[in-house]
């Protein structure tokens, strides 16, 4: 693929890893064990070698792929790995539909760069299945009828999973507070809170 070069930008703007290493002293080079990531202006015609190789651990599997530093984890999950369970909503950290777990804690995938997620354990809603069966939280959402249109549901399910991992026996208030980073446009909140409570019991082997 030909690479488009913008002559106005190319000579001085943008610092390649090589450029950086060449421009600092030898001592700094020895210390420069950090990783430098370089992005290109126009994604469609960017040459692969101008992208960054990352290894992302997602749902227990390692995916090696090339990414641009400006790609969010959300974009990579959906558009590069076809893990479309994670939904796109506001894309600015305000709705929760893109919620994933990073090292067991809830995060907005739209507010996380793919390059940042290297070296972490990422769990998406697909990773909450129990083999071919629905996982406990997913089951509880079905049992409690905790959705209407379902658009927010995968984010809600992952948020609930994160909440229950941190606090296996939440009170209603803990649930309301813990789930408050996830909006539901259909306002199925009462059922969502019941589902989280139900999931807590399923996880402990209780109420079916």
């Amino acid at each position: 693929m030909p690479r488009k070069i913008d002559p106005k930008k190319e000579p001085d703007k943008g610092v390649t890893r090589r450029g950086f290493l060449g421009s600092v002293g030898a001592g700094a080079v020895a210390a420069a064990t950090g990783v430098a990531h370089r992005a290109e202006a126009v994604p469609e015609i960017t040459e692969p070698d101008e992208m960054v190789q990352v290894a992302l651990r997602i749902n227990g599997r390692t995916h090696r792929l090339l990414v641009e530093p400006r790609w969010t984890l959300l974009f990579v999950l959906r558009e590069r790995l076809a893990l479309t369970g994670t939904k796109v909503g506001c894309e600015r950290g305000e709705c929760g539909s893109c919620t994933v777990l990073i090292d067991g804690r809830t995060r907005y995938a739209c507010m996380t760069l793919a390059v940042e997620a290297e070296g972490t354990e990422i769990t998406t809603v697909e990773g909450l299945l129990d083999g071919e069966e629905l996982g406990e939280v997913q089951q509880a959402f079905v049992m409690e009828d905790a959705f209407q249109c379902g658009y927010c549901t995968s984010g809600q399910v992952v948020a609930a999973e994160g909440l229950l991992r941190a606090n296996p026996s939440p009170t209603l208030n803990d649930i309301r507070h813990g789930m408050s980073g996830n909006l539901c446009r259909c306002a199925a909140y009462v059922h969502i809170f019941k589902a989280v409570d139900h999931a807590a019991e399923l996880k402990k082997g209780g109420r079916q």
């Binding site: 610092v15 210390a31 641009e68 400006r70 809830t106 948020a159």
Partner: protein, 290 residues
């Protein structure tokens, strides 16, 4: 919502981070949790040629309570690291209040305390309580290290004393005197995911029922988080009677210079300051032991 291209560098030491910033001070920015930066980049409000991430610098992650009761918050410690810290809950309840009031779980798992202060929006939730505790910022630049009191850190909305190649490496909170209680209260449009219309924090030192020392600070009602010195003075040497608390609220409102904006009117903010000041002083005093 796509962003313009940038380089993302992940140094593993502070000196390396400073060197990277110093190479192109105007084109670079420190990247901590990214919750503020990414919003600006996505909206096209800002562009940085190079983002220098602090995430891989091991030594910046720690939150430490020392034996003498001081607290050190590393630059990449997240809001939730603070909110879930049992020792902080017990010894700096007001700092826990502030952390729990910020955004929602997903943001708290990512956003840093230092980033909240460095962004310097007037409504920054961590600012009033840290200001009231007399916190200091430890700042490293290519030429050395310095300590800046938080009181002198904020210059204006989204503006601090930081120079382009400066990195805040830690926030230090001095050990509270015996008999100290603290609290932080704010009012937003809803409990989660909303910035405060007004915020008030207080640190008091109690001796039985008498308040020996009181510091009151305000957020979201001036170009920067501010001290409401006169409000503290009203309380000092007194019992927290209804009259004293009301007077403190009036003094705090006099220190405030709020604006009308989409979140609240000036008048409403002044009312909030009065009410929150009374409540936060009472809450801080109730928590004081000694």
């Amino acid at each position: 919502m796509s962003m313009r291209e940038f380089d993302f560098v992940e140094p593993t030491s502070v000196s390396e981070a400073c060197a990277l910033l110093a190479e192109d001070p105007d084109g670079s920015a420190v990247f901590a949790g990214g919750t503020d930066i990414l919003v600006d980049l996505k909206a096209g409000l800002k562009h940085h040629q190079r983002l220098v991430s602090l995430a891989r610098i091991e030594e910046l992650r720690a939150v430490e309570l020392t034996a003498d009761g001081a607290l050190r918050i590393g630059a990449t410690a997240t809001i939730n690291q603070i909110a879930r810290h049992q020792g902080i809950k017990e010894r700096f309840s007001g700092i826990n209040d502030a952390a729990m009031s910020l955004a929602a779980e997903q943001v708290r798992n990512q956003a840093t305390v230092a980033g909240n202060l460095c962004m310097a929006v007037p409504s920054a939730d961590m600012a009033p309580i840290l200001l009231a505790h007399g916190a200091t910022m430890r700042v490293v630049s290519p030429v050395g290290e310095r300590v800046v009191p938080l009181r002198e850190f904020f210059v204006g909305p989204r503006e601090t004393i930081l120079e382009a190649a400066d990195v805040v490496v830690a926030i230090d909170v001095p050990p509270p005197a015996p008999g100290t209680g603290d609290a932080s209260l704010r009012q937003g449009g809803r409990v989660s995911l909303s910035l405060p219309m007004a915020a008030v924090a207080a640190v008091v030192v109690m001796e039985k029922r008498i308040c020996r020392e009181a510091t009151v600070t305000l957020g979201a009602v001036a170009p920067t988080p501010i001290m409401a010195t006169a409000a503290g003075e009203v309380v000092t040497g007194n019992e927290l009677s209804e009259d004293v608390l009301r007077e403190a609220g009036e003094r705090a409102a006099e220190a405030a210079v709020p604006i009308d904006d989409l979140r609240a009117t000036k008048e409403y903010r002044l009312e909030l300051v009065k009410v929150l000041t009374r409540r936060v002083l009472q809450a801080a005093a109730d928590r004081a032991k000694g």
